[in-house]
Amino acid sequence: MLSNLMIPAVLFFGLGVLARLVKSDLKFPPDLAKALSIYLLMAIGLHGGVELAKADLGAAINAIIWALILGFAMPVLGYWLLIVTRRVSPLDAAAIAAHYGSVSAGTFLTAIAFLDTQGVVYETYPLIMLAVMESPAIIVGLLLAAQARQKVKLQAGGNGAAAMANGNGHGNGHGNGEDKIRLGALLHEAFTNGSVVILVGSMAIGAMSLPGSMDKLKPFIDEIFMGALCLFLFEMGMEAARRLGDFKRVGALLAGYGVVMPLIGGTIGVLIGHYALGFGVGGTTLVAVLAASASYIAVPPAMRLAVPEANPSLYLTLSLGITFPFNVVLGIPLYHWMASALAGTGP
């Protein structure tokens, strides 16, 4: 299990964390991380598209359905957990929960690097699931936030109305009309999100392209992929460590949430991967990673827009500073171990 830590991708993540901990002046150009994530999504999408062209339609639809179930159920579960433990306001809870319903492509790719190194084969369907799961959680997050606002308003009574009036007569924007407009915008945002467009688009292109013409793309997709992933994780390690420092601000209990959620998600994912989808150890591990990981690229801007009242430093600290490192270092080998155990005892 320790061998996970000896993969270059994970080691570069650690180097990034270390660089920040020793307060190195190392800085990546902000656009480099963006360029790398565009490349990584494109490469994984093309790769998946080629495979999916050969895939079984029934199995693909099954995977999509379970991805939707996960994408809708995880944030509801996550929201409920937060409300029950009463650590954050309902609106913060809605925004945080949305992150856990969505996925982290960086974690997913690290898991693939892990499986490759271990020589474990895996199904391609989790890749469609990755694309599918980017969006639903954003919608659930918005619905939860609308409900939370309603609750806040009821609690606050005339009080809240006064505060709203402050907003120059426009403040009463949280009525149903407003929310409907926003839901439309959000649905649009959820499905035309940049990551979704690259991933789904590249998958379609990979599936549609003439085989000969894809050959020329192969080295771009395959050969520099691992290096680009290492660079990306290097940078993300620095970002994660920057957020780790906000740990104290978040509080121990909430920080614990950042570890408990992936454990719950990972367990659910392993069960779905194994029993519901019938995947092997590799595919099951990937489903677990999808359920366990929290978005930190697509969801934060969506929440800034849709739930501006929520505090970004809460959700970024949890998803990027706690859950992401946890999954990269401990979660992935753990889910793999769980998947193996299940496969050993399973049908």
Binding site: P30, G167, G171, G173, R304, P308, P312
Partner: protein, 106 residues
């Protein structure tokens, strides 16, 4: 001596996620244009590193004093909804005042 005419400059610092919303305001309020510069920084909710998912923008709009209030009203409305915007207004002088009366078309 070059003639100078008074105008107002609104500067807005906020998350890049609000860019489209702001542009819509400028269009609706008939400003003659706007300018955007990428930024990062820190404020009431920690550091904003400038990475894609955590980037700020610095937006500048020059407009005649009598068109200031409608834009500020819209910005207040965004603030009222919980968005974080650092807004400040300055007095500036320009050499081509007529330029700032023609709405941009986009």
């Amino acid at each position: 001596m070059v003639d100078l005419y008074p105008e107002k400059l609104i500067s807005i610092i906020t998350t890049s996620a609000l860019e489209e919303r702001l542009v819509r305001i400028f269009r609706e309020r008939g400003t003659s244009g706007y300018t955007i510069v990428p930024a990062r920084g820190a404020g009431s909710r920690g550091e904003q590193s400038g990475l894609d998912f955590d980037a700020n923008i610095l937006v500048k709009v020059i407009l005649p004093a009598d068109r200031l209030d409608p834009v500020l009203d819209d910005l207040k409305r965004l603030l009222g909804r919980g968005h974080h915007l650092t807004v400040f207004v300055s007095d500036v002088a320009v050499i081509t005042p007529e330029k700032f009366t023609r709405p941009f078309d986009l």
